[in-house]
Every structure is written in structure tokens, then in C-alpha cells.
Symmetry: C2
Subunit: 369 residues, 2 copies
DNA sequence: AACTATTCTGCAATCGAATGCACGGATCGA
DNA sequence: TCGATCCGTGCATTCGATTGCAGAATAGTT
């Protein structure tokens, strides 16, 4: 039957390399004795009502029997809708994005949309090319989880062009773009509050990149948490480039070497990897975590609960965030967006073994180190 | 929820017209004073030579100035090529797939192709629907990293339909489909050899699902490794469903309770998560790793090098595997496939702290064998 | 029975780019 | 100078599904 359909079309097709045998609406129409337009109507839930039930059933039966699948490229061209959402992710290698992607797809797929994932590593100038690709593919909307301040203009142009956009995970101040983000300030606050409640008084942060609003918010929250106890984080000039283990190690080593860590009993690393690196550097310097220095992370990445010590951290509801982002982009695509929505999800404290009360010795010994 | 979306679309249909301002070849043609066909030719590397240089430059200049991007949906329809490769991944949440995806995209993107990732969790019957989706989207080929024996018929039908397919990471015996896989048997062999060389004599496996060829191969290799020293793994009837931490914990607890572990000094878990669970169960039973029992994992997942103890494991070149899979699918799409290629990448042993020589006390127990 | 209202379905145009074909013009050789 | 060859470009069709419009068929009304 499939062969029959292919033959009937025209000889040219066989001449071309025809990898997949295609069954078109025309084939189904012939089989059911109707016009192709009736086939289209019989299968479209929104048009179905216009077709006589008897005819519709006959068409649906024929379509099922032939294994007909409407060609989405043709449909997209005509309807000016690709049923595709571009999704920009900083790195597939970083496991925390897995749940986000999962959440996004979980929301998109039931509505017939697919996410088209593209990797745009931080500091790689890949955002613009990726957006061009997505434009060329005529995606209906874009979910961006990679925004950095240097991308502000590019993103502004993107929304100005009329493309529905939702930022998630990260966002940028001063852009009128819908966003679905974790309440990072609350996360930072929870971290600070946790360390304060354990009895720490001299604390500092290992910062992520400052040009990512997310990290800036964690800092603000952390300061809020300390301020509630009339405390202030120890200031220092160390900065990180990419928030990974090696950077955490490097920065902590510098802090130790420069004496900034003297008397410090707790550290808030702005993500888990930085925290892991910091713990390693502490260990290399003969200090133990949490006995000498407590360390908090952020993200609750996979496996950090199995580390030594198990990492205290802040967990973000990544799946939920992905689903909310998916819902928002679908709203935007369907023109339901009311202004630029801001959806916030709440992180939670996950206290584990890497944070504990400061050692008795720590207070007086501060100068000794 | 679907209803809600549909309702709103109806009502707003007119309001949301022309979301993205589209520049077409016609616009560029008008601007450059040529016919749209000349625009097409001027921008297609393969047709470019047919256009007078002067004209081509004029067109390219106009295209650049207007920010013209050929509409890939239209192009796809006409050329019968979507420049899209479907990629089936078991789970975005499992971090080891990150590098694989990265590798695939690294190979596809320079050639103008994009990977369309779909999650098809083990044991979820999502494979067929996912394939239908990809068919509807007219992807040019499919990379499948999720094959299970129950999928054999579905995959057979898929290739019979003419769709270029490459299996990676996992594969199925008896299917004439190109594949790019890790040499799992070698991996299992390396694991066995490593434990043998440390002096272990009584060992057993914590198996992954048996209906995945990959896991079966690891077993074969492990047995080879032991056989080289005239040893055999201790047999037992424990099986796992999904290869995760909780299953590892459960199985090891059962093995301990049933006495199968008596005298066993080393365990080969068929992936890292199972190994981590096993170590936890051992610890719960008052046994230490590696002092009482050495444990090996498989995969070298992110962060397992920071565990306590750092997990000895087998590392697969995931990025390379992804790139090779990308290369193979492009070959197949372009009709260059010679038979069904088999590409094998080599894993490496990563010895860490979770494996060590068996304790003195263990030896006396061995002769019992 | 005549006529209008209502279904139902076919027709043909459209979405935007790609491409076989053909024509006008330039180039070249004799 | 004339005809043969190329070259470069325009024309028109095609890819497959969708959809406004209109005509045919049926139902409903007086």
C-alpha cells in the first residue's frame, strides 16, 4: 500500500533519494474518496466539527490505515507556526539543567510543542549565532536560561523583533521580558540565616560572575541574612570567571594566602561547584570542613548529598521552574501574556554535614592562623 | 489545559497576527533589483557560482542589511530536508548524557544540522510516540541512545521505513543498524582485571537491566577479566530495575541479608549510581569501603571523584561517542553509509579510593570457595 | 411547491524557497 | 559580419497542508 502511494505520485520522487516513504494528504484523500482539504479538516480538532461524522470517520480510518502523519514542515509554512520553542542552555554538561529541561518539555509536549535545545556556554559569544539559527528555523518562542549582562542588547533586539521570549534561571534587570526565576535573594538569605543560626560571625562569600543578576541576588540575600544579626560579610576582591570546581579552589587558595580567611568560620559559595573547590583548597591547607570552616553551596546538584562532607546547600525547584517557564512561553506564543510576567519559585535550605557550629577554638584562635 | 490553550487561541487569533516581522527573499529581491530566484542562488554556496559576482555581492549586501534569514520551514518543504536530527535520550536528569549531547551537537552544528532532543525514559512506552513525533517533523535521521530489547521491533520498523538511524550508548543484537558504542566488554574486563590485580578472589556484580545489551556486555567482560585469573563471579539472583542509587542500596541490602556477601571482598556495580547505593548499604551494615569491601562503578559520572570514598570507575569517552554518532548519522543521511557501520570507542580504568587490596582477614575466608 | 437556511465539500490560492527551463544578451571564431 | 556558445537571470512550478470562498446538497419553513 505504501508503495502504491509512492508510485502514484510521480516518477521524479524515486529518482531523488527518497529516504522515507511519505504518505501525503492526497494519498489519504484518494483512499477515502474525498478531497485533500477534507482530509485536513477531518484531522484538525478545530475544524473537525465542519465535517460530516460519517466522512470524518472514513478519513480517519484511511489515515490510520496508511499511517499518515501530516508533514509538519508544510503545516508550519502555511500556518506560520512551527510548534517549536527554542531553549538556550548554558551547558549540557552541568547536571542541574537536566531537571530544568525535563520540566520544560513536560509542559510543552502535551500541547504539541517541542523544545529545540541549543548550548550557549558562558562567555562564548554563541548567543547571537544561536538566536540566528532559531530565527531561521522560525521557532514560535524562545526560553533563555543563559542571560548575562553582556547579552542585554541582543535580548532587547530579540523581543523588539516580536519574538516571544521568557528568561528563566537567570534574568537581567532593566529588560521588559517575562521571567521565571528562582527567588535567589531568598536563597541567599536562607544561606546567611542558616550560618548565623549556627553561631558563625565572620563569614564571606565566594562570588559567581557579577554580571549575572542571579548571583548578585544571592549576594544581596546573603547580606540581608547577616544584617538581620547585625553582621556583614568580610569583603574581599576575589572574583571568579566560570563557576566551577577549579575556580572555587583557586579563589579559596588566594583567600587563604592573602590572610582574608583569618578568623573566618563559614563560607557561602554561590554554587555547589565553587563550594566543592573551596573545600578542597581548605583541605590542602590543612583545614577541615566543617570543623574549621563551614561551607555552603547553592543548587543541590546531583550527588552533592553523597560528598564528604555532604554539602549543605540551597535547593531550587528546577522541574517546577522548567514547567512554569514552559507555561509562560506558551502563554506568550498564544498572545496571552499580560505585560511581562514575573514568576518566582521558592528555594529551600538543605542543611547537611558541611555546615556546623564554629569550633570553640575558632573564636580566640582567629589571630593564630 | 489543552482546552484552555485552544480557547484562547481562537479568540486572539487575529490579535496575535505577525508576531515576528519576516523578511523574505522577495523583499531582498526588490531591494537588490533582482528576482527572488537570484536571491536564493546568491546565498546558496552550491549555486553561487552561477551568479555574476557583482550581482551576488549586491544581493548579499541587501540580505545582510535587511537581516534576511531564509525560512527553513519553506526550504525544508521544498528540499525535503529539515536539517534536523532526532536524538532520543533516556533522561535529561542523568548527568552522564550531558557530554554525549554536547558531542552530538558539536558534530551536527558545523554542518547546519540541529539535534532535536526527546526524553524517552526506560520502561515508559514513550519511544513509539517520540518516533511518531519525529516522523511528523520529518527529521532527516535519528540517533537513539535508549534502545532496549523491547524496542527491537519498533526500531526494525523504523529502519525499514527508510529512516537513517544510528544507535549509540546502547545497542541491540540482531539488528542491522549502525551503532556507535562504548566497548562495554572491554570496560567490564578492565574492572575485573583491576580487582583481580588488587588481590580480590571472591567478587560479584550488581547488574543493570539484563535486557540492555550494554549491561550484558559489561558482565561478559567482567567474567573475562576474572577468568583470566581462573576466577568466577559469585552468582546470585538479585536483579535491578532502574540503575539508580536506591536500587543499588536495595540490592546490596538483600545480598547482605541473604548471606551472599559472606567472604566477598569486591563488588562491580554496573554503573556509578548502583555503586554509590551499594556503598551506602554496606555502611548501614557496619562495613567500610574499601577496607571491608571494594566497590567499582561504571561511567565516571560528574562528582564521583569527590565522593567518600572517591569512586573507582570506568570512564567512557562520552563526548567522542557523541561526535562519532553525529558523524555516522550525517553519513547515513547523505547516503554514504557502507553497510551498517559499527564504531567502537574505548573506555579507560579510573582507579580511585573505593577499591584497594582486600584486608588480611579476607584471605582466610577465600579458601572456602 | 417554492424558497431560504444550513451543511458539507471541493476548488484554488497561499505560505517562502528552490530549481528546471528558456530567453536575451554578450563573447568568440571564422 | 553572422552564427554558435556560454552566461546570467527571470519565469513558473513545486514541495504538502491549510483555509477563504463558493457551489452543491440537504434540511427546514410557510
Amino acid at each position: 500500500m505504501i508503495g502504491e502511494g509512492a508510485d502514484a505520485r510521480d516518477g521524479i520522487r524515486t529518482a531523488l533519494r527518497s529516504p522515507v516513504s511519505l504518505i501525503t494528504a492526497k494519498d489519504v484523500a484518494r483512499e477515502a474518496g474525498v478531497h485533500p482539504s477534507t482530509v485536513s479538516r477531518s484531522l484538525d480538532p478545530e475544524q473537525m466539527a465542519r465535517v460530516k461524522t460519517e466522512t470524518r470517520l472514513r478519513v480517519q480510518e484511511a489515515a490510520g490505515r496508511l499511517g499518515y502523519r501530516p508533514d509538519l514542515t508544510a503545516s508550519s509554512l502555511r500556518r506560520q507556526r512551527t510548534m517549536t520553542i527554542g531553549v538556550l542552555i548554558p551547558s549540557f554538561g552541568n547536571p542541574i539543567y537536566g531537571d530544568l529541561i525535563h520540566g520544560i518539555n513536560a509542559e510543552l509536549e502535551p500541547h504539541g510543542y517541542q523544545g529545540l535545545m541549543i548550548e550557549t556556554p558562558d562567555g562564548s559569544d554563541r548567543l547571537s549565532p544561536a538566536l540566528e539559527t532559531l530565527r531561521g528555523r522560525r521557532v514560535d518562542g524562545i526560553i533563555c536560561a543563559t542571560s548575562r549582562s553582556e547579552d542585554r542588547q541582543v535580548l532587547r533586539d530579540l523581543v523588539d523583533s516580536g519574538m516571544p521570549v521568557v528568561l528563566t534561571l537567570r534574568w537581567l534587570a532593566g529588560l521588559a521580558i517575562a521571567r521565571v526565576v528562582n527567588d535567589d535573594r531568598l536563597g541567599g538569605f536562607l544561606a546567611g540565616q542558616h550560618l548565623v543560626s549556627l553561631g558563625h560571625r565572620r563569614m564571606l562569600e565566594i562570588p559567581g560572575s557579577e554580571d549575572i543578576e542571579t548571583f548578585a541576588d544571592r549576594s544581596r540575600g546573603f547580606r540581608d541574612g547577616l544584617a538581620a544579626a547585625a553582621l556583614t560579610p568580610i569583603r574581599h576582591g576575589e572574583r571568579t570567571t566560570t563557576p566551577d570546581v577549579s575556580e572555587g579552589r583557586r579563589v579559596m587558595a588566594n583567600l587563604l594566602a592573602s590572610g582574608v580567611m583569618d578568623g573566618v568560620t563559614a563560607v557561602f559559595a554561590q554554587n555547589d561547584l565553587l563550594g566543592i573547590g573551596a573545600i578542597e583548597a581548605l583541605r590542602s591547607a590543612g583545614l577541615q570542613c566543617p570543623e574549621d570552616v563551614s561551607v555552603m553551596g547553592f543548587n543541590d546538584s546531583p550527588l552533592v548529598d553523597h560528598l564528604d562532607p555532604a554539602l549543605s546547600t540551597i535547593a531550587m525547584p528546577m522541574v517546577e521552574m522548567g514547567m512554569r517557564a514552559g507555561r509562560e512561553i506558551l502563554r506568550a506564543v498564544n498572545g496571552q501574556d499580560t505585560e511581562h510576567d514575573v514568576v518566582t519559585v521558592r528555594p529551600t535550605l538543605v542543611p547537611r554535614a558541611s555546615t556546623s557550629a564554629p569550633a570553640q577554638a575558632a573564636r580566640p584562635a582567629a589571630p593564630a592562623d
